[in-house]
Symmetry: C2
Subunit: 340 residues, 2 copies
């Protein structure tokens, strides 16, 4: 049985239009692309023929001929994660403004798959945005050159020609810790992320080098993860740690923790202050609203496009970006209690 396909049975091609208008295919092509040096009268005849036949050019054929697909790919580790969704959205909207479309590939948190996907996605498109916080650094360096033009989001690398958009997690964490210490907190729990992740490593670094060292300050580390459930499950350990504040790996973990604390009847921030990281859209609407460090992920997606666009146009891309997250104080943090 015949497969349904792009090549639908009676699909009208440029040859049909040419015949209808009584000109050559070349002329039709020139008219469709608005190229100069075609007689206005003929141009009109061609447009009329195209309209009559309801012609629209075959994108694939065009791509093959001109060597560009007008499409870029983005590879993310998990489409369920709000951060990557934001990046995708920023990229998609920015690219759309320049007439480009976006192909998504979700590696479902599988680093091995990620390499395959990146290669394959890149081959289908003109350029690639790679978001791979878990990928082994060495493997990444080896992979990057063959992906160009490409940009790397959310982690550092030093491959020439590959723009990097990174987030200064350490500085973000420091501003959070600073804020908590200002409120009098001394014993702080770090509800940690996935051990293998670049982001977790960077956050630890921030914890170990406080901005304004304070007498008697200490950080207790609590192994956790990156999702709601992880935060929810970590509640007991956090409470048992004797900390007066919990600095969570990200907003999802913080929300999971908040949920568990609410179920336990623990007062936030009275008994325990809680902070997140990322400032996902939902962070503003938790109860209490979440204090967090804002990472402008949508903006990173847009900036990724700006750089890809420069590379595609043969221009020099703008300088790399290293965003400093900004502290957003909401209701989930408060002054440490006198009796604590």
């Amino acid at each position: 049985m015949a497969r349904m396909s792009t090549r639908a049975a009676g699909r009208v091609t440029i040859a049909h239009v040419a015949a209808e208008a009584g000109v050559s295919r070349a002329t039709v092509s020139r008219v469709m692309n608005g190229l100069a040096s075609v007689d206005p009268a003929i141009g009109e005849r061609v447009r009329a023929a195209a309209a009559k036949l309801n012609y629209s050019p075959n994108t694939v054929a065009r791509s093959l001929a001109i060597g560009r697909t007008q499409t870029v790919a983005i590879v993310v580790p998990d489409l369920a994660n709000p951060m990557f969704q934001e990046t995708l959205r920023g990229l998609s909207r920015a690219a759309a403004r320049d007439g480009y479309r976006v192909l998504v590939a979700d590696s479902v948190e599988n680093p091995a798959e990620e390499v395959i996907l990146a290669r394959e996605a890149r081959r289908r498109c003109d350029a690639l945005v790679l978001v791979a916080p878990r990928m082994d650094a060495e493997q990444l360096e080896a992979l990057l050159p063959e992906l160009a033009p490409a940009v790397l989001v959310n982690r550092a690398s030093a491959v020439p020609g590959i723009p990097v958009l990174s987030v200064d997690y350490a500085s973000g964490i420091r501003s959070i810790v600073d804020h908590l210490q200002d409120l009098g907190h001394r014993r702080i729990a770090y509800v940690a992320g996935p051990a293998a992740s670049h982001g977790d490593k960077a956050r630890r670094e921030g914890l170990s080098r406080p901005l304004h060292p304070v007498e008697g300050a200490e950080v207790i580390e609590i192994p956790c993860g990156a999702m709601f459930e992880d935060g929810h499950a970590a509640a007991q350990a956090v409470l048992a740690s004797g900390a007066t504040a919990a600095v969570c790996f990200n907003d999802l973990v913080a929300m999971g923790l908040l949920g568990a604390l609410h179920e336990e009847g623990v007062d936030v921030p009275g008994r325990l202050s809680v902070t997140g990281f990322d400032d996902i859209p939902f962070a503003r609407y938790t109860s209490p609203a979440l204090t967090t460090a804002s990472v402008p992920q949508t903006h990173l997606g847009e900036q990724a496009w700006v750089r890809l666009w420069a590379l595609l146009e043969g221009r020099e891309p703008e300088h790399d970006v290293d965003v400093k997250p900004s502290l957003v104080v909401r209701a989930s943090t408060g002054r440490v209690r006198a009796d604590a």
Copy 2:
């Protein structure tokens, strides 16, 4: 200056491999596609040549030749909305399992743009998933035939050959109202969605035909919207209405409302019960956890793929789906207070 492009300077083509292996391009093609009737020895030589030259076939050229792109498009009104993100994720993962990739197009809530986008996206791909809750019904019917193969998500239509995956919003709302009435609520506020949307119309229908009519029951309608801010802004109106329960258009509105109520110090569910709709991943982690009607959007995305896949393979797609949302009772609803 030469543009960077898919056609990189020294890109190795099938002709190079053929030359290297001392065979024709046709033979290389057959080997690469694992077609029968090629001498094992030659097959090995070709594979060796391909490996040596690091050859990988040009996807665009292949697509042109075989008339398939192995890509499907999805058009959504707003990539920031968790519901559409879920659909995208379900689609993307299911399609990936069958070797297909997904192109996304975000109409940014612009119905006019939506039509253009859908046409264009469809032309680049083998098939289309259309999520267009706001699009005018007449326009939709006119558009659908030329999009085939395609499936329509989240709304009804009767164009033959276009599978539909719809959600029975009315039934979902009825189960929520039922639940509230069981808890003793009589005066219920409906915090409404966008007037133009298909979903809002369907929900109203559910409200007007309760499952188990109850003496003295009444519904007060409060105009609102579909986002956090809308729900947040509607808090005063809800409180002023004298209702003991608020049925929100969706989870986002409910979360906005919960946030405002928390700020006002209003006890939920003591003073006011609140329900959402959709059961987005965050609904479980609000405080209090949100009672809502669960719409399996990821599943819809997967089912969309199953049907597209059938159409692409020339098979008869499975019957249409009309999901009945299931009530998920959490902590944001409770028995009406005696003194209310």
